[in-house]
Homo-oligomer: 342 residues x 2
C-alpha cells in the first residue's frame, strides 16, 4: 500500500500543465481557464490529490488552526464550548487544536502550553481556562497571534475577553432570593483566582447589600465536585444554617444539592433554596431542576470567533471586551413564593 504523498507536481504532469496551474486551481481566488481546470480536476481526482495544508501554511503564514486551552472538562459547561467552537470554526475552514492545562499548576503551565501552541503557528488562541502571564501575552502579540479569553477576564486591558455579565448575574440571583423572603444567605465560592468567581460573588454581595443584607456563611469549593460537597457539609452541618445558598457554578451546585438531600436529609427548596450559575444540561434535568443563570454559549462562541477573525483578517490589533447578558432561569430549586406575603 501507501501510495504515500501525491503532490501538485504529480497532478501537473498527468494533466499536462504546470505545477503552478494546479496550485491556482486549488486557490479560491485564482483564475484558471475552463479547459485547464477540467484537465486538472480529472488528474487530481484520479490521483486522489489534495493540497497539503501545512506546505500552504508555510508560505501564506496562515495555518487555519486555532489553539484552544481548556482545563475543566468535568465542568459540563466546557464540553459545550469545545463542541460549539469547533463546529462553528470548522464551518469557516478553521480547526481547533486542543491543549489541556492541568488546573493544578496554574499559570506556569499555561505559559508553557501557550508556547507549544505558538510552535504550531496557530492563527489564534482561545484561553478557556486559567490566565496567562503578561510576558507571554506580549509574545503572542509580537507574533501577531490574537488571543481571546473565554469566560474569564484579566486585569490586562490589552487582552480581548468574552464573558457573561457575571456581576449582574450574581446580583439577579441575590434579588431573586431576597424576593422569596430568604434571610440567611450562604455562598460557596469557586477557585478564588478566577474572575468568574470574583465577579459572581461581588454581584451577589452587592445585591444583598442593596437590601441591607449580608452573607451569613461562606465556604470555598474551588469548582470541584468533591470540594463543593465538603463545603456544603461545613456550611450546613449544624442547625444554624443558611436558608438559601448561591453556589458559584452549576457543577458545584449539584454536589451541594446531593449533600443537602442525601446526607443531611434537607428538602430543596422547602428547607434551603439553591441557585447556581451556567445552566449546563443537568441543571434542567428533573433530578436537579436548578435555578441558575444561563450563559449563552452560542453567543459567547460567536463573539469569540468574531474577535478572532477581526484580528486575523484585518489585523485589528485592539483588544475587544465583550460582556453578554445572562438570563435568570427560575426552576424548582428555589421557593415558589415568599414565606411572608410580598
Amino acid at each position: 500500500m501507501a501510495n504515500e504523498k501525491v503532490t501538485s507536481n504529480d497532478v501537473a504532469r498527468l494533466a499536462g500543465v504546470s505545477q503552478s496551474a494546479v496550485s491556482r486551481y486549488f486557490t479560491p481566488g485564482s483564475s484558471v481557464s475552463k479547459k485547464t481546470s477540467e484537465k486538472i480536476r480529472v488528474a487530481a481526482e484520479q490521483l486522489g490529490y489534495r493540497p497539503n495544508i501545512l506546505a500552504r501554511s508555510l508560505i501564506t503564514g496562515r495555518s487555519r488552526i486555532i489553539g484552544l486551552v481548556v482545563a475543566y472538562l468535568e465542568n459540563y459547561f466546557y464540553p459545550e464550548v469545545v463542541e460549539r467552537l469547533s463546529k462553528v470554526l470548522q464551518e469557516q475552514g478553521y480547526h481547533v487544536l486542543v491543549f489541556i492545562s492541568s488546573p493544578a499548576s496554574a499559570s506556569e503551565n499555561v505559559d508553557q502550553i501557550t508556547q507549544e501552541i505558538l510552535d504550531y503557528q496557530v492563527d489564534g488562541i482561545v484561553l478557556a481556562s486559567a490566565s496567562m502571564s503578561s510576558e507571554l501575552a506580549a509574545r503572542c502579540h509580537a507574533h501577531g497571534v490574537p488571543i481571546v479569553l473565554f469566560n474569564r477576564s484579566q486585569d490586562d486591558e490589552r487582552l480581548s475577553a468574552v464573558t457573561s455579565d457575571n456581576r449582574a448575574g450574581g446580583r439577579k440571583l441575590a434579588e431573586l432570593l431576597l424576593s422569596l423572603g430568604h434571610e440567611k444567605f450562604g455562598y460557596i465560592a469557586g477557585f478564588e483566582g478566577a474572575s468568574t468567581q470574583r465577579d459572581r460573588e461581588a454581584g451577589f454581595l452587592e445585591g444583598l447589600a442593596a437590601a441591607g443584607k449580608s452573607l451569613y456563611r461562606r465556604s470555598v469549593g474551588n469548582f470541584r465536585y468533591e470540594e463543593a460537597q465538603a463545603a456544603a457539609r461545613r456550611m450546613f452541618g449544624s442547625d444554624d444554617r443558611p436558608d438559601a445558598v448561591f453556589v458559584c457554578n452549576d457543577h458545584m451546585a449539584f454536589a451541594v444539592m446531593d449533600v443537602l438531600r442525601f446526607e443531611l436529609g434537607l428538602e430543596i427548596p422547602q428547607d434551603v433554596s439553591v441557585v447556581g450559575f451556567d445552566d449546563v444540561p443537568p441543571a434542567r434535568w428533573p433530578a436537579y431542576n436548578l435555578t441558575t443563570i444561563r450563559q449563552d454559549v452560542d453567543a459567547m462562541v460567536a463573539e469569540t470567533i468574531r474577535t478572532l477573525m477581526r484580528a486575523i483578517d484585518n489585523g485589528d490589533d485592539q483588544a475587544r471586551r465583550v460582556t453578554l447578558d445572562g438570563t435568570l432561569v427560575v426552576r424548582g430549586s428555589t421557593r415558589k413564593c415568599p414565606a411572608t406575603s410580598n
Copy 2:
C-alpha cells in the same frame, strides 16, 4: 509590534554559527558541542526563537498532530475521552486536532471530515464517533495514516479498534438483574447503527436467555436524553411494566430515571431497578447512584495511543483490535437483594 517571525537563520546570524547548527540544537538526537550550544541558546533566547513545527513537518513528514473525530460531547463519556487523550498525547509531544461530526449526517459527513483531517497531514486518526466508509479507510491506509476506532468497532477487519467488552458487560448486567429476582426486563436501545448498542443488547439478551428469560419490553432512545425520556414514557406509561430496565448508556439512563421518578412517581429500585453503561461521573452522584458497567477510559486511551504509536513509529500495518474488560459497579439503582430469598 509584531516582530513577527524569528527564523533559525536569524539565530544563526546572531550566534555566529550556521543555520544547520541551530537546527541541530533543536533536534533532540543531534550532536552539538557545548560551546556552540551555549551561543545558540543565548541567541535563541534573546530573539525568542522557537522552531516552526509546520516547516519541520514538511520535511520530516510528521506533523505530531492526531485528528480526533467526535460527535456526542453531550454524552459525558466523551469529554473524559477528549481530556485524557489530549493530555496523554500532549505528554508525548503530540496534539489533538478536533473534528466535530454532526451525528445527523452519519457516514457521509465523516468521510468529508476525514478528508479534511488528511489535509492537515495528521499522523493518525481517532474515530470516537460514527463509522467511516471503506473507501476512505483505504485512502487513509494508502496515505500511511493509521486509524483507530474508539469505543466502536466495524465489520471491516482491517481497522484497528479499542472497545470495552460490551457483550460481556450486557451479560453481567443481565446476570445481576436475574440474581436480584427480577422477572420482567426492559431494554432501551441506543442508536441502532452503533456497535456498542448492538453488542450491549446482544450480551444482555444472551444473559437473559441463559436463564430461560427474554425481553419483556424494548424501546429506542438513540443515545439522546430527550428520546430516552420518550422511550421511558412509552415503556412505563401503563401498569403492565418491566420491573427492571437496562438502558444502553448512562446518559440515557439518567433521562429514564428522571421520568420514572418525577413523571411517573415510581421508586427506584423498589418499583424498578435501572442499570446503565459507561460509569460517567454523574452515575456516582447521589441523585442517580446508578448501577452500571465502568468503561476504563484511561486504559482505553492508553491502548488507543499504543496502537497509534505502533503504527506511526514502526509502520506497523496490522489492525489491532483491543477489547478491555468493563467492571460491574453496583450502586443504589438496583435492589439490594432478591425478592425471594436466595
